[in-house]
């Protein structure tokens, strides 16, 4: 029976949401196409993670070793390439995350399987996968097929599929002994550092007034900050604003910034890249203002206005002040 292999991603002994999302899609594809679902779990003290994966796949293949405590690219690449070359799964799924930006191309090279990244949908058409990807800043969708191969590698965009609830799999746990690895690595881990600490905590705000590159000039930031103040909200932003050093990193919303959960998120001049949008999935209501009526942010917002953000900011100031 064909196999779909899901590479589990976890941090600090918690499965990442993307793992549950991939498992959901894998079991869906598996049911419809008569494929088994397996999970590759690499970690240290994996009991809790194994428990969280139970019932969600036909089997969990576990490599448990101190060296696998944190994501360690050399070992991960070696172990997974060997596993894939042995089991020859029809499809191997990984999250489209910083992990897989490192891992997936190495696996493609070492298995000879074709790789499609950042996919938002996967179809199986008489045993051959096809994928849907977004291109041109998310404004266009594309459907792509693979070259002929015996297996296929796919990385999945976070949030593309809902998370799995538990299923009714009879899960087999296979513990695999850690293979002997080259002792020397060209990459020596030094440590982690936090980059988002600061005086403003955007994760607790009820109202976020959030600015993106559409703000145009640094001087306009102050203007929007005033609006946030008048409204009793908090100022946040997209990544380019932090890259330009117009605001400190602790204001940034998104995968490499913070996940926020305000009652209302007012997005001003933000296009809606998935790395940004991933950070606002917990928002109650999203209102987007953008000059481009085709901006992807309008596909995730509940309310939209096609307008110049500076005009809207000016008008909002007038309304709220003059109440």
């Amino acid at each position: 029976m064909a196999e779909i292999l899901v590479v589990a991603e976890h941090r600090n002994n918690e499965l990442r949401e993307i793992t549950l999302q991939m498992l959901n899609k894998a079991s869906d594809l598996g049911r419809k196409n008569n494929c088994e679902v397996s999970v590759a779990l690499l970690g240290n003290n994996t009991d809790k993670l194994i428990n969280d994966l139970k019932d969600r796949a036909d089997r969990v293949i576990v490599y448990n070793d101190q060296r696998l405590q944190n994501f360690n690219p050399d070992d991960y690449k070696e172990i997974l390439a060997t596993l894939i070359n042995e089991r020859k799964p029809l499809i191997t799924l990984m999250g489209h995350t910083p992990w897989s930006l490192d891992l997936a191309p190495a696996l493609a090279f070492r298995t000879g399987y074709p790789l499609a990244t950042d996919c938002v949908d996967i179809l199986l058409d008489s045993g051959k996968p096809k994928v849907v990807r977004q291109v041109y800043s998310g404004k266009i969708f594309s459907r792509m097929a693979f070259r002929e191969a015996s297996g296929y590698l796919i990385t999945v965009r976070g949030g593309a599929f809902p998370s799995s609830k538990s299923f009714d799999y009879q899960t087999e746990i296979i513990q695999v002994a850690m293979p002997t690895m080259a002792a020397t690595s060209r990459r020596e881990f030094i440590g982690y550092q936090d980059t988002c600490k600061g005086e403003v905590d955007i994760t607790q705000a009820e109202l976020l007034v959030s600015v993106g590159r559409g703000i145009g000039e640094e001087d306009n930031i102050e203007y929007v900050k005033e609006l946030a103040g008048i409204m009793g909200g908090t100022l946040s932003c997209s990544r380019p604003i932090v890259d330009k050093k117009w605001l400190p990193k602790y204001h940034q919303v998104g995968t490499s910034g913070k996940s926020v959960k305000p009652k209302v998120y007012l997005a001003l001049g933000i296009s809606g890249a998935f790395q940004h949008v991933a950070g606002i999935s917990g928002a109650g209501t999203v209102i987007a203002v953008n000059k481009d009526k085709k901006a992807p942010i309008f596909r995730v917002a509940q309310y939209g206005a096609v307008a110049d953000l500076l005009n809207i900011v000016a008008a909002l100031k007038g309304k709220v002040q003059g109440k």
Binding site: P98, L101, P105, I140, S142, R186, S256, I287, L316
Partner: protein, 259 residues
């Protein structure tokens, strides 16, 4: 320090109405403005900064048509020493073919450091650098947001999710995929680009690279592009700025935020 930077010319697609071309395999590009891929602008800047600090030689490489030489002239104007364009001819390169061709050229040049961007803005594959590193047998890190080279190694930070960075030390030669924000790219004047127009750009034909046929087959075959489904999405508010502001205030209040 010999540094090679891979740069791509990409169409700018914000605030433009994109249209599908007749083949429905790509968009119409005749009316689009091209710019340096955002991530690559940071990569070339980083290379030039390293050169300015500790000496060296920076080569910019692109795979693209003649019109894409613009991106190389921009790199020369910023301070690159040399520029190479690979002419794809009739090939329609995907990420795996692109990586194969770029790696083949890098092989022929001395290199301590090879830089790419994290992703290209048009197709956001995010893998060209990683694939090149494998082909070249180089140490690799993706999403790099600081580089400090010293003594045959580089201390780097790698951006993870949720505001955490990993610090690591990596043996050189290595290939890094550069993340935005690693530096503040310098301004490039039109004059600077004009001056750089006099510098020679070396052109290599893809078929002259001597790659095996399998490397010039795409991994992915475009079947069709299409517009996003119209069904999903926001309720669009109508009116002038004043009326839009009224509606926005009303919605915010309705959702339980007191203004």
């Amino acid at each position: 320090m010999n540094i090679i930077v891979c740069v791509k010319n990409v169409p700018f697609t914000q605030e433009v109405d994109l249209a599908l071309d007749a083949s429905r395999q790509d968009i119409r590009k005749d009316n689009l403005v091209y710019v340096i891929n955002e991530w690559d602008n940071y990569a070339i800047e980083e290379a030039i900064r390293i050169k300015e600090q500790s000496g060296g030689h920076v080569t910019a490489v692109t795979l693209g048509k003649e019109a894409d030489e613009e991106v190389l002239r921009r790199c020369l104007a910023m301070g690159a020493d040399e520029a190479i364009r690979i002419e794809p001819g009739n090939l329609k390169p995907d990420a795996s073919m692109t990586a194969a061709m770029l790696a083949e050229v890098v092989k022929t040049l001395p290199h301590d450091l090879v830089l790419t961007g994290v992703q290209s803005d048009d197709f956001n594959n995010g893998i060209t650098g990683g694939l090149m590193a494998e082909r070249l047998g180089l140490a690799h890190a993706a999403v790099v947001n600081s580089i400090k080279p010293s003594d045959g190694k580089a201390q780097i930070t790698i951006e993870l999710e949720g505001g955490q960075d990993e610090m690591s030390r990596i043996d050189l030669p290595a290939l890094f995929a550069i993340q935005t924000g690693i530096n503040e790219p310098r301004y490039v004047s039109i004059m600077g680009i004009r001056k750089a127009a006099k510098k020679e750009i070396k052109v290599i034909q893809a078929e002259a690279l001597g790659l095996p046929a399998a490397d010039l087959q795409p991994d992915l075959i475009m079947e069709e592009i299409f517009m996003p489904p119209e069904t999903e999405g926001a309720e669009m508010l109508q009116g002038d700025a004043g009326s839009l502001a009224d509606q926005i205030v009303r919605i915010i209040r309705e959702k339980g935020v007191s203004l």
